[in-house]
Assembly symmetry: C2
Homo-oligomer: 350 residues x 2
């Protein structure tokens, strides 16, 4: 164990299970917070003009289409309170938080299975055929977690239209969208003007590596709903340092571009390096993480995870995720040297 | 104007209208944030164990009785969502935010007038005689703003009991409580074990001078309501830096004790200094601010505020507050020299 040449540092632990951008907190943000701590002695601007403008410019939408909240779950709860869904559909394997939030609103949750034999890629026509007009809400993530599969703009448009016809509100969770190649071409934000039943939810937690800030935003173009949201949400719930941090990070194009470039490269390299093994199956990743199936009968995800953790490589075993089992692991792409260690450590044991 | 000897500094502006502790942000907090910025790269502990323990210790209550949110308005909205009040009573003059939040929940708002001839002190028996069992909610602040009048524990107990009998939930807003002399003897937190229809709401904005942090907490002992709150609130909505800051500030006994001592002294001195004037009436303050009535026919609060602002003294004219008029001003107590300037500037013109 100690003679592995690629081991970066004795006992150094690298979190391949959090799906955070390996660049870490943007320097621009650390600096802005350090230099402006005294802003906590002032009430935030109740309209959050600067913050909202920064978000609007980042997504290329008018200010009126932006909704902001304390993290994605907060926004999801907001949509729950807005729609009070009686019946909702989500896909699995997928983010486990959706069902929890829907349960909080006593909604009946209908599950749609993404098929392993189809590489967990959404078959939009089959999915649409399962939609019924007694449903109020569909929540879907693009790209999906833990499968790391994106949905094309065309498929999303089909879905949005089918939902609209049946009076279903569609929430698209784009928490990992910036990691997808040419993501601006697939974001569902492009659909909101045509479909007032679509809201796109975004987070800064993963791409900007700042989950501690608790900030999320959503984009939609539905004046009626926006009026209700205005009424039911707390006006000044975002801390002034958070507002400042977000305003700065959205303008940090160097961080944004270099992060995208790093992830694209590392995704390709890790995929290539691991595709030589016959004892695992790789689901080709679109996001900053990859799902892998263990093909040998005599090995479990717990064993792989344990072996990895002894080298400081913390991966996600997926046995608690609906639709997966103790034969699946997931890990994100970190920095080059860390990825080398991760790939070698996994290949050693599988 | 330029030869006023007490003028601290040319053009220096002092905000006597925000009711913030003049000590400003605790140094312990500034330091903690600066040294721990990297915590924003981690998800906050979903149970906020350290934070909740610090709050619980600060108020002397078990963890289970603590509710936390993004500022007082957020908590008020939470109680609104919890109770969905059809009819609620508030007093005036009082905080203007209550009616706005109640309107958001489409509650009928009944107003109870605090009488000027009674020095705006609450006559609890008269107030209680106005309560009817079709009411769901009473919101009252202790001490009250803008009157700066406290409610005794005995009176609050009478009120809590009367509410309980009529099935009314009582929210006591103690945003300014730490500024009241021997505040631990009057806090309604002492009543929650006896009255499960009472919630006490607190803020850190005013006493710790950190409104930008957006943190508020409430204390109540009602297992049924707490279960609903667990379900409808977002779990991890408090930013990690905010959690860290609050945890530190509640343990900063030096800041707490010195702030209390400063405000007590300044309140007495300002009151004494201004009580010599026959052209104003002082409502004896219990909090860190004072309401004053202008007695001369030919002067308005706008004129006084304008004169003051030319010396950098920003006070609150109260013409937009229900129950008051353009004959009332309000200001808080700042540091000794600043207060000297403020007193002199006001006395010059009234």
């Amino acid at each position: 164990m100690n003679n592995t040449p690629l081991r970066i540092e004795q006992y150094a632990t690298v979190l391949f299970n959090t799906n955070l951008n390996p660049r870490g907190i943007p320097d621009s943000v650390t600096r802005a917070i350090k230099e402006n701590i005294e802003t906590i002695s002032m009430y935030p601007d109740i309209y959050y003009s600067k913050l909202k403008t920064a978000v609007a410019e980042y997504v290329g939408e008018p200010l009126d289409n932006i909704i902001m909240g304390n993290g994605s779950t907060d926004l999801l709860k907001l949509f729950g309170a807005l729609l009070m869904p009686k019946k909702a559909m989500i896909v699995y394997p997928g983010p486990m938080e959706y069902a929890r939030v829907l349960n909080d609103y006593s909604a009946e949750v209908v599950f749609y299975e993404l098929k392993d034999e189809n590489e967990f890629i959404l078959d939009v026509n089959d999915f649409v055929s399962q939609l019924t007009s007694d449903m109020d809400m569909v929540i879907i993530s693009n790209p999906n977690n833990p499968t790391s599969k994106k949905i094309s703009l065309e498929d999303m448009k089909t879905l949005a239209g089918a939902c609209k016809e049946r009076g279903i509100f569609l929430v698209v969770d784009e928490m990992y969208i910036e990691f997808v190649e040419n993501y601006k071409e697939i974001t569902a934000i492009q659909l909101i003007d045509e479909f007032d039943n679509v809201a796109v939810m975004r987070s800064v937690s993963k791409f900007f590596a700042v989950p501690g800030l608790r900030f999320g935003y959503a984009v939609m173009n539905n004046p009626e709903f926006k009026e209700i949201i205005e009424r039911i949400t707390t006006k000044n719930n975002i801390a002034s340092l958070t507002a400042l941090a977000i305003t700065n990070m959205f303008k940090d194009t160097e961080y944004i571009n270099e992060s995208i470039s790093t992830i694209h490269t590392e995704r390709s390299l890790v995929y290539l390096a691991m595709s030589t093994s016959r004892s695992i199956h790789l689901y080709k990743p679109d996001a900053n993480f990859m799902l892998v199936k263990l093909l040998k009968d005599d090995i479990t995800s717990a064993e792989v995870a344990k072996h990895c953790s002894q080298r400081g490589v913390i991966i996600r075993k997926c046995d608690d995720i609906k639709g997966l089992s103790n034969k699946y692991i997931r890990f994100c792409f970190m920095n080059p040297k860390q990825n080398d260690l991760m790939v070698n450590t996994i290949l050693e044991i599988v």
